[in-house]
C-alpha cells in the first residue's frame, strides 16, 4: 500500500481550493462546479481505496489461540508459513509488546488444514471463535494492533529537542472521519451547485473555494498525527467556518454571527493551546528524565509512551496524589476539553452554533452538523488513552465531559422545542446530539460515540439539506411561514421524514441504534461497582432528552410539511441536483444502522455483523470500566436500554403526532401566544436566556469591568506608562546619546576606535590579575 496517498488525499481538495481561488471567477460556473465537486469526490474515492486496503490488511489471518495450541501450529508449519512476531498493541490506554503467531494462510484453509492435521480440535476452535468480544479484548493473548498507515512528509521544525513532523496517521478512527468528510462532503458539494446556482459567478467560485479549503483543512485535522498538525487543521476549519458563516457579508448581521463564532472558538482554542503546552512541558520533563533521548513531541505515539510512563511513575508512587505527571495530564486533558467545547459547541461555549446558521444551508449541513463540530469528539477519541485515567483533583476528566455533554444535550434539546426558525431547530438539535456524543465519550464508550457521529452525520446533513430545499422553495426560514409542503415537495418531504425519524431514534433507523448504544453504555456505567449516582442521573437525562428529541423532530415535520401553506408564493420541488443527494443521504440514514446492530438482534449466522463499527474501534481506543463487567449482565442491560429507548422514541413520536396533529399550529397551545406555556416557550426560545445572561447580567459585564480594571491599572498605569512609555523614554534617551556619539567627523570616529583598541587589550591583560588581586584582598579581609 502506498501510504503517500494520505497527503495526496489532503492535496486534492487543496488543489481544488487553489484552482477555484485563482481561476474560478474567470473561468465561470461550470469550471467551478467541475473542480469543486470532483475534488471531494476524488478524495472520497481515494479514501475508499485506503479503507479497503486497511480492511484487507486487518483481515489477514491472525489466529488467536492458547499458547500450547500455538506451539503445535508453529511446529506443524515450522517457520515457513508460521512465524512469531512482536507487535505493539494499543489497548486500554496502554501500549504493550506482544508476541503473536502469524500464519500466512487464508483463514478458512488454515482451519481446514489444522483440523485435518489434528492440530486443533473443533471444540477449541469454537472456543476461540466464540470468545466474547469483551473477554477477547482483555484476555486474548493474540490480540494484535489493527492496521494503521502512517506517513511522514518531513520535519516541520525541531527546537531544542521538540520535534514536529508533518506526520499523518490513518487508522480505524481517522478513516471513519475521512469517509464521512469526503463522502457526505461530496453529496453536499453536489447539492450546493443547485443551492448556490442562482448566485453570480464570483460568489459561486468563492463559495466552492471556501468549501474545498474546508475539506482540506478538515482532513488535516483528522489525519494529523501530531497534535500541532491537528491544531493547524483545527484552526483551518475554524477559519473556513468563519468565512462561510459570514459568507453573505453584505448583511452586517451575518458578519457579526461569523465574528461571534470566531471569538467564541478562540476561547476554546486558548484551552487547546494551553493543553498542548502542558503536554509539551510534560514531554520535555519525561524526555530529559526517564525517557532518555531528550527528544519530545506532540505526536500521538509519543503521547502514548508519555502516558504509560506517567502511569507507571504514578503507580510507583514517585509523584504525590494528583500531582506530578499524572496531575499534569489531567490538567492538559481538561484544557483540551475546553478546546473541544468551543469547537463542538458544548456548554458553556455553545452559543455560537445557533448563530452560525447565518451561513448558507449547505455550510450548516457540512460544517455545523456533520463534520467540523464533531472535531471535539474526534479529538478526545483520538486521545482516549490520555483522557481515560485523567483526573483533576480526584475528579475524572471524562466524568466532567459526560456531565457537560448530558447537560448540553438536555438544554439544547429543550431549546430546539421552541424555535421557529427551521435551521435553529436543527442547530439546537445538533448541539443536543453532540451533547450525546460527549456523554458517550465521557462514559468511555468511544466506539458508540463514533457510531453516533457517523449516523448523525447522515441524518443531520439530510435534515439540513432538506431544510435548505424548503428554504429555497419558500424563501423563508420561519416554520410559521411554511406548512403543507408534503404534496408540493414530495422528495424533500419523504427524505426529511426519514431523517426526522432517524433523529428521533425511531426503532430500526440509524439514530435509534447509535443513540441507544450510548445510553446503554451510560446505563452500564451506572451499574459498575462503585459508580456514583451521577451516572444514573445522566442516563435519566439522556432518556428524557431522547423524548424531547422525538417531540421536536415531530414538531418540525408537522409544522413544515402538514397542514396548509402559510407562506407566500408557490413553493415547488427543488432541482434534481438537490434532491438526489437527499435521497442518497436518506438511504444512508436508514442503512447506517447496519454498522451497529446489537448482537442479540441478529441471528447467529450474522454474528460478525453485530456492533460492527463500535467493535472495530475497540482495539484502538481505551477501554472503560464497563469492559470488565459480566457479559450476560451487560446483554441484559443492553436489552433493557434498547427497550426503554424504543418505547420512549415510539411513544413520544406518537405523542408528538397526537399532540400536534389534528390542529393547525395556531390552535396548538404550545404555539399559541398566551398562557404559561407561552412563557415557558419564550424562555426556551431564548435558549434558557443564556445569551442574555452572558451579555447583560453575567460574563460580559464582568469581563467588561475586569478589562476596564486591567486596562486602568495594569495596561495603562503599569504597562503603558510604566513599561512601554518608560522603555520608550529610556530608548529615546539612549538614542539621543547614541546619536551624540555619531558626530560625523572621521577624526572623532578614529578616536573612538583607538580608545576601544587600547582599552580592550588592556582589559584582556589586566582583568585576570586585577580580579585575582581583588578576590585575594577581599578573601584576606574576610578572614582577618
Amino acid at each position: 500500500m502506498n501510504t503517500s496517498m494520505i497527503p495526496l488525499l489532503i492535496l486534492v481538495p487543496f488543489l481544488g481550493f487553489l484552482l477555484n481561488a485563482f481561476f474560478g471567477r474567470r473561468l465561470g460556473k461550470s469550471f467551478v462546479t467541475c473542480v469543486g465537486v470532483s475534488a471531494p469526490l476524488i478524495a472520497f474515492v481515494m479514501g475508499a481505496a485506503l479503507f479497503s486496503n486497511l480492511r484487507e490488511i486487518d483481515s489477514r489471518p491472525v489466529v488467536q489461540l492458547d499458547a500450547d495450541i500455538q506451539r503445535r501450529v508453529y511446529d506443524a508449519y515450522s517457520g515457513e508459513l508460521a512465524r512469531y512476531e512482536l507487535v505493539t498493541v494499543h489497548a486500554h490506554g496502554h501500549a504493550s509488546q506482544r508476541q503473536i503467531l502469524r500464519v500466512d494462510l487464508p483463514y478458512e484453509s488454515f482451519v481446514q488444514d489444522a483440523l485435518a492435521k489434528n492440530l486443533i480440535t473443533q471444540a477449541e476452535l469454537d472456543d476461540a471463535e466464540h470468545a466474547e468480544p469483551s473477554e477477547r479484548v482483555i484476555v486474548a493473548a493474540g490480540e494484535v494492533a489493527p492496521a494503521a498507515f502512517t506517513f511522514t512528509l518531513g520535519n516541520w521544525f525541531s527546537v531544542g529537542g521538540f520535534e514536529v513532523n508533518f506526520a499523518f496517521l490513518l487508522d480505524r478512527i481517522s478513516i471513519l472521519l475521512v469517509l464521512v468528510i469526503t463522502g457526505i462532503g461530496s453529496l453536499i458539494h453536489i447539492y450546493s451547485t443547485g443551492y448556490m446556482g442562482d448566485r453570480s459567478a464570483g460568489t459561486f467560485a468563492r463559495f466552492f473555494t471556501y468549501l474545498n479549503l474546508f475539506i482540506a483543512a478538515m482532513l488535516v485535522l483528522v489525519l494529523g498525527k501530531d497534535l500541532l498538525l491537528m491544531f493547524v487543521g483545527w484552526e483551518g476549519v475554524g477559519m473556513c467556518s468563519y468565512l462561510l458563516i459570514g459568507f453573505d457579508y453584505d448583511d452586517k448581521a451575518n458578519a457579526a454571527c461569523g465574528t461571534k463564532a470566531f471569538v467564541v472558538n478562540r476561547i476554546g482554542d486558548l484551552g487547546f493551546v494551553l493543553g498542548m503546552l502542558c503536554l509539551v512541558v510534560l514531554g520535555r520533563q519525561a524526555a530529559l528524565g526517564e525517557l532518555g533521548d531528550g527528544v519530545f513531541s506532540l505526536d500521538v505515539d509519543f503521547l502514548r509512551t508519555l502516558v504509560d510512563h506517567g502511569g507507571s511513575a504514578a503507580a510507583a508512587g514517585e509523584h504525590g496524589h494528583g500531582g506530578g505527571a499524572a496531575g499534569m495530564i489531567g490538567v492538559a486533558c481538561l484544557l483540551l476539553f475546553v478546546g473541544a467545547t468551543g469547537k463542538s459547541a458544548q456548554i458553556p461555549l455553545h452559543i455560537w452554533l445557533p448563530d452560525a446558521m447565518a451561513g448558507p444551508t449547505p455550510v450548516s449541513a457540512l460544517i455545523h452538523a456533520a463534520t467540523m463540530v464533531t472535531a471535539g469528539i474526534y479529538m478526545i477519541t483520538r486521545l482516549s488513552f490520555l483522557f481515560i485515567d485523567a483526573q483533576v483533583f480526584g475528579i475524572p476528566v471524562l466524568g466532567i465531559v459526560a456531565v457537560i455533554g448530558a447537560t448540553t444535550a438536555f438544554c439544547a434539546g429543550a431549546a430546539a422545542l421552541a424555535q421557529d426558525d427551521i435551521k435553529r431547530v436543527l442547530a439546537y438539535s445538533t448541539v443536543s446530539q453532540l451533547g450525546y456524543m460527549f456523554l458517550g465519550v465521557g462514559a468511555a464508550a468511544f466506539g458508540a460515540s463514533m457510531f453516533h457521529l457517523v449516523t448523525h452525520a447522515f441524518f443531520k446533513a439530510l435534515l439540513f439539506l432538506g431544510a435548505g430545499s424548503v428554504i429555497h422553495a419558500c424563501h423563508s426560514q420561519s416554520m410559521s411561514k411554511m406548512g403543507g409542503l408534503k404534496d408540493s415537495m414530495p422528495w424533500t418531504f419523504k427524505t426529511m421524514f426519514v431523517g426526522a425519524f432517524a433523529l428521533a431514534g425511531f426503532p430500526l433507523l440509524s439514530g435509534f441504534f447509535s443513540k441507544d448504544l450510548i445510553l446503554f453504555q451510560v446505563l452500564a456505567r451506572s451499574n459498575v461497582e462503585g459508580a456514583s449516582w451521577v451516572w444514573a442521573l445522566l442516563y435519566g437525562m439522556g432518556v428524557f432528552t431522547a423524548a424531547l428529541t422525538a417531540l421536536y423532530s415531530m414538531r418540525l415535520i408537522r409544522m413544515t410539511f402538514y397542514g396548509s401553506y402559510r407562506g407566500s408564493g408557490h413553493p415547488h420541488e427543488s432541482p434534481w441536483v438537490m434532491t438526489v443527494p437527499l435521497q442518497v443521504l436518506a438511504l444512508g440514514a436508514v442503512l447506517a444502522s447496519l454498522l451497529g446492530w446489537p448482537k442479540f438482534f441478529l441471528p447467529a449466522s450474522l454474528a460478525s455483523w453485530a456492533d460492527m463499527l463500535p467493535h472495530s474501534l475497540h482495539a484502538v481506543v481505551a477501554a472503560g470500566p464497563t469492559a470488565l463487567m459480566d457479559h450476560d449482565y451487560l446483554v441484559s442491560l443492553e436489552v433493557t436500554g434498547i427497550v426503554i429507548g424504543a418505547v420512549v422514541a415510539v411513544g413520544f413520536c406518537a405523542l408528538g403526532f397526537a399532540w400536534l396533529w389534528s390542529l393547525p399550529p395556531s390552535e396548538i397551545a404550545w404555539e399559541r401566544p398566551v398562557g404559561w406555556m407561552r412563557r415557558l416557550r419564550d424562555f426556551l426560545f431564548r435558549a434558557w436566556m443564556y445569551d442574555e445572561i452572558v451579555n447583560k447580567r453575567g460574563a460580559q459585564p464582568a469581563v467588561k469591568q475586569l478589562s476596564h480594571w486591567l486596562w486602568r491599572w495594569f495596561d495603562d498605569a503599569t504597562l503603558d506608562q510604566g513599561l512601554v512609555d518608560g522603555m520608550g523614554r529610556v530608548g529615546v534617551e539612549l538614542s539621543h546619546m547614541a546619536r551624540a556619539t555619531q558626530t560625523g567627523r572621521a577624526t572623532s570616529y578614529l578616536r573612538m576606535f583607538a580608545l576601544g583598541a587600547v582599552v580592550l587589550p588592556l582589559l584582556a591583560i589586566l582583568a585576570t590579575p586585577l580580579f585575582t588581586l581583588l578576590t585575594a584582598w577581599f578573601a584576606g579581609g574576610g578572614t582577618h
Binding site: G731, A738, F753, A764, I765
Partner: protein, 534 residues
Amino acid sequence: MEALDPIQIASKDFKYLLPVMLPALFGLVALVADLFSKSERSRLPLCMISLSGVCLAGFSAIAFWSGAEFSEHLAGTLSTSAFSTAAAMPVLLATFLISLAAAHHGMPTDPKATGWLPHSLSHGEFYGLLLFATSGMMGLIVANDLVTFFVALEVMSIAVYALTGLDRARSRAAEGAMKYFVLGAFSSGFLLYGMAMIYGAAHSVHFSEIAAANMSAGQSSLALVGAVLFLIGVLFKVGAVPFHAWAPDAYEGATTAVTGFMSVGVKVAAFAGGLRVLVALGAGGALNPAVGWLLWLVAALTVILGNAGALTQRNPRRLLAYSGIAHTGYLVIGLVAVSRVFDTSHSGYVTNVGASAQLVGVGVDAVGGVLFYLLGYAAANLGAIAVLCHLERDGEEVDDISQLAGLAKTQPKSAFAMTVAMVSLAGIPCTAGFIGKLWVFRAGVAAGDVTLVVIALLMSVLSLFYYLRIVVVMWMHEPGRGLDGEEQQVVALDHRRWASGLAVGIATALTLVFGMYPTSGILNLIKAGAGSVF
C-alpha cells in the same frame, strides 16, 4: 642558492578554489562586457553575467566544499567543510539578490526616455566590484592561514570601499566611502599587528598549527594581545561597538543596493572567518577568560547602541545601518558562547587537553545559531533593501520612511514584502529572524550568559518600535501623507522593474520558508557545518 621547500600542490586541489575564483572571473567578464555595451541599452546582460557567476560559485561550493570535516587544500591555504558552504550561502544570496535588485537602477521613470541615467549602478564597475568583493568574501570564509585571511579581507574591503563611493556624484557617498576607507585602513593595521603577534606566539600562520600550538604555556600575553587586536579588526568589519562609527555614515552614503550588500556580505564573511580564527586561537590557548567577558561587553554595548540608535532614525538606510549594528550585537552573543568553550576557569579543563563535551556542544550550537541567524538576517535584510531598490525612481531613493506612507494601498506586494522583512528582523515568530534569535539566545543561555541574553531580549523588544513603525506607516497612513502629516510624493508602481520585483519575491519567500519550514537540507548543512568547526 639553496632550493626552497617544494610546495606540494595537487592540481586537482584547484577545484576547491573555484567558488572563490568564479566570482572574480565573472567580475572581469562583466567589466569587459560593459565596455562593449551601449549606454542607452539595457544593462540586464551584466546582471545575467553576475547571476551566472553567483550560481556557478554556489553550485561548486555545494559540490566541492560540503564535507563533514574540515579538509585542507592548496598547501594548507584553504580548508573547506560544510561550514564553508553554509557560510557561503548568505554571501551568495546577497550577491544574487543585489545583482537583481540593482538591475534596473538608473532606469528612467519616463518609459519614452531613451538611455539610462549616468552613474547608475548597472554599470560594469558595479557588477565587477560586486563580484570581486564576493570573491574576497568567499576567500575569507575558506581561508586557513592568516595571510590568506588578510588578502581575502582586503580584496573584499577594497572592493566594498569602492562600491560605497561608486555614486560619486553624491557628496554623501564620497564622504561615507572616505570615512569607511580611513577607518578600515586603521583597523587593518590592528588586524595585521594582531596577526604578527599571533605568529610570534604560535610560530605559524596556519590555523591548524595555531590551534595545535600551546600558547598558554609561555607566550600567553603576546598571544592574548594578538588575539584581541585581531578580534578588533574583525569586530570593525562587522560593525560592533565601539568600532561601529563608520557604519551609519557609510550605509547612508552608499546607494541602497550597496548598503544591502555591505550589511549582509561583509558581516557574514567576517563572522565566518572570525569564528574560525577564534576557535583556532581558543584551541591554541591564546584566549583567557577575560576575552569572553570583553566580547560580552562588546555584545551588550552593540545591542544597546544599535537599537537605541535605530530608534529615532527616519532614513531607512541609516535605520538599517543601526539595526545592522544591533544584529551584529545579537551575533556577537554567539561569539561569546564560542569563547566560553575555551574558558578554562569555567570548566576547570586544560584547554589543549580537551574541553568538556558539553561545552563543545554549546559551541556547536552557537556556531549553528550564528550561521542560521546570518542566513535569516540575509533574507530579511535583503528583502527590505530590495523593496527600497524597487521603489527607486530616476536615481531618487527613499530617504525618509515617510515616503513609504500608504504603500500598502499603492503597492501591496512591496508593502507585504517589507512587512515580512521587518517582522523577521524584529524576530517575531513564523519568520527566519525568530528562529535565528531563538537559536543564538539559547546558545547564550547554555553558555551561562543569561544577563547578556536578557539585555538582548529587552533591546529586541525596543527594536519592535522602529521596525513596526515602518509597518504602521505603510499600512495605516494614507498615501502621500507622511509621519507628521506632511505631503509626500507617492511612489508609483513601475511594471518594468521585474528584476528588483523578483529579488523582493525571492527574499520574502526565503524569509517565510526559513521561518515556517526550515528545510532539512539547509538545517542539516548548518548543523554539519557547525559540527565541523570544533
